[in-house]
Amino acid sequence: MKKRKKNRRESRAAYLFTLPSFMGFIGFVLIPIIWVIIISFQEYNVFTGTSEFVGLENYTAILTDPRSISALKNTLWYTVLCGIGNTGLGLVLAVLVDDILPAKINVFFRSVFFFPSLIALTFVAIIWQEFFQTDAGVINYYLGILGISKVGWLSSQGTSKLAVLILDIWKNVGMSMLLILAGLQNVDKGLLEAAQIDGANVFQRFRRIIIPIASPQIFFVLIMNVTGALRIYESIFVLTGGGPGDSSRSLVMLVAEKGFTSFDYGAASALSVLLLMLIGIVTLIQFAGSRWWVHYE
């Protein structure tokens, strides 16, 4: 009897506590998702302000539009390379600043490597845009010293995505480093020493001990980087504006352009749904793949 009374009080408190966020979730996340799916089957008329149901027309339109196909390919390119690059380099940096050097030096480097993660992308993209200039750019200047001829980073279709990737890794790798570092701190240093005495080399210790133990954190960072890259936007917007041509344009850039420049809400929503499905598929693949290499205690 007393237990039931306690339970009733508890669930009343529970609903009181969860209701604000859950209502917000319904209003600003769930309904928008459903609504975007509905809009993707409609065509919006800018002049009358009305919408009519057109079935799969928006989807056939975007899937036959070379611009969305190229944006889709670019987004996948960013996803794979930003995901792997940030996570891989983050792991390497995390090992470097873990405990090889004295603690004070490590703390200093951790802070320096992490700092760009705190700065808005638009600010640093403004600076990197200057660095990537073909003739007056800092990067080409140093490449020239090394005897490498000038690269048209932002002005050539072949390298525009690479410039975006470099900026993305420069900015975000410190965040990955810090999060993976939390996992490395779980690695028993005695275990590493024992392995070393038994003759395991650096790579064996890395593959057999460090990665398995830090795998939950590495997996979390991978998911974070991949989903971050799937919605990549600002860096491209500032650096290249999506160009030259459409060579660096991402799906989100196309959503913003279709939806808010040409007011083609139907096409923008269909692209959003495409992006949503992409996020779902990529996340599922990662979770399925994680069974092979992620070990929770």
């Binding site: 529970a14 996340v29 609504w35 700092f115 936007y233």
Partner: protein
């Protein structure tokens, strides 16, 4: 590689010196853009700022050209207006998110109630859906609510779908739930025996313990909303209502880049100061997120 040499009376491994040198080079690559923009913002002209070889260090103090900074401080360009807008929006988002995050996180960690798993599961799935996907519908909803082109159009959805990198929505709830899960259940039982109801237990016992996690969450949410670009860019049209990251692009001019360089420097300085002061805490709070990830 394991030869040792003596420096300052201490024996140092050669391999460690090599590693330190590599890390110094990486550190330079990381801070070079900040050095460069500070130096460039003090040059008289764009061509001087971008002249090669690159000037990583600012000119001698007597040669500083402060014209661009004066423009920002005099209000000729609406820079401080942008900063104020950013500050207001980030504050509202942070307070909103911390408030609903802490109570919901507590409920999901400590209470048993019907629909708990379903509600929590839905929210975790929603964490994967970025605002970029729902932006068309969100725009229509904000339009319907009549708040388009006001800061509410940014803060309302952001409070419930904040823009943590790669994660949207229920982030704060998740983080607070992880914290409260780490508090032993016996504490709740003890409070119940003493006759405290669930709500009083929360406010007088649990909440005070959550101080540092709350601060971590607040720092994170504030930073990410301060840096957010996309939502403001879509929802707000009037230049004078823009936040800093969006506004800074609106004062760009071709070939006269001193304004934006100076604006970039002034935007980074507060973050740098906060980082230097709260470095330990910020680094720790980031690690918190990872531990339970």
């Amino acid at each position: 590689m394991n030869k040792k040499i003596k420096i300052f009376g201490k024996k140092i491994k050669l391999s460690h010196m090599f590693l330190a040198a590599v890390m110094l080079i990486i550190a330079f690559i990381i801070i070079a853009p900040f050095l460069w923009v500070f130096s460039a913002s003090l040059r008289a002209s764009y061509s001087e700022a971008t002249a090669l070889p690159p000037k990583w260090l600012p000119p001698a103090f007597s040669d500083w050209n402060l014209a661009y900074y004066k423009k920002l401080f005099s209000g000729e360009l609406p820079f401080f207006g942008f900063m104020l807008n950013s500050f207001k929006m980030s504050t509202v988002i942070t307070i909103g998110m911390v408030l609903h995050g802490v109570i919901a996180g507590y409920a999901y960690a400590k209470f048993d109630f019907r629909g708990k798993r379903m509600m929590f599961g839905l929210m975790m799935v929603a964490m994967m859906v970025p605002v970029q996907v729902t932006i068309v519908a969100l725009y229509k909803i904000m339009n319907f609510l009549g708040v388009i082109n006001t800061s509410w159009a940014v803060t309302l959805p952001s409070v419930f779908g904040a823009m943590c990198p790669g994660l949207a929505g229920a982030f704060g709830i998740f983080m607070m739930r992880q914290f409260f899960l780490s508090i032993p259940k016996e504490l709740n039982d003890a409070a119940a025996i003493d006759g405290a109801g669930p709500i009083r237990t929360f406010f007088s016992i649990m909440l005070p313990m959550a101080g540092s996690t709350l601060a971590s969450l607040a720092i994170l949410v504030f930073t990410f909303s301060w840096n957010d670009y996309f939502t403001t860019f879509i929802m707000i049209n009037d230049t004078d209502k823009l936040s800093l990251p969006v506004g800074i692009l609106s004062i760009r001019q071709p070939y006269v880049k001193g304004n934006e360089f100076a604006a970039v420097v002034l935007s980074i300085i507060p973050v740098l100061l906060v980082f230097i002061i709260g470095q330990k805490w910020i680094v720790k709070s980031m690690t918190h997120v990872g531990v339970k990830g």
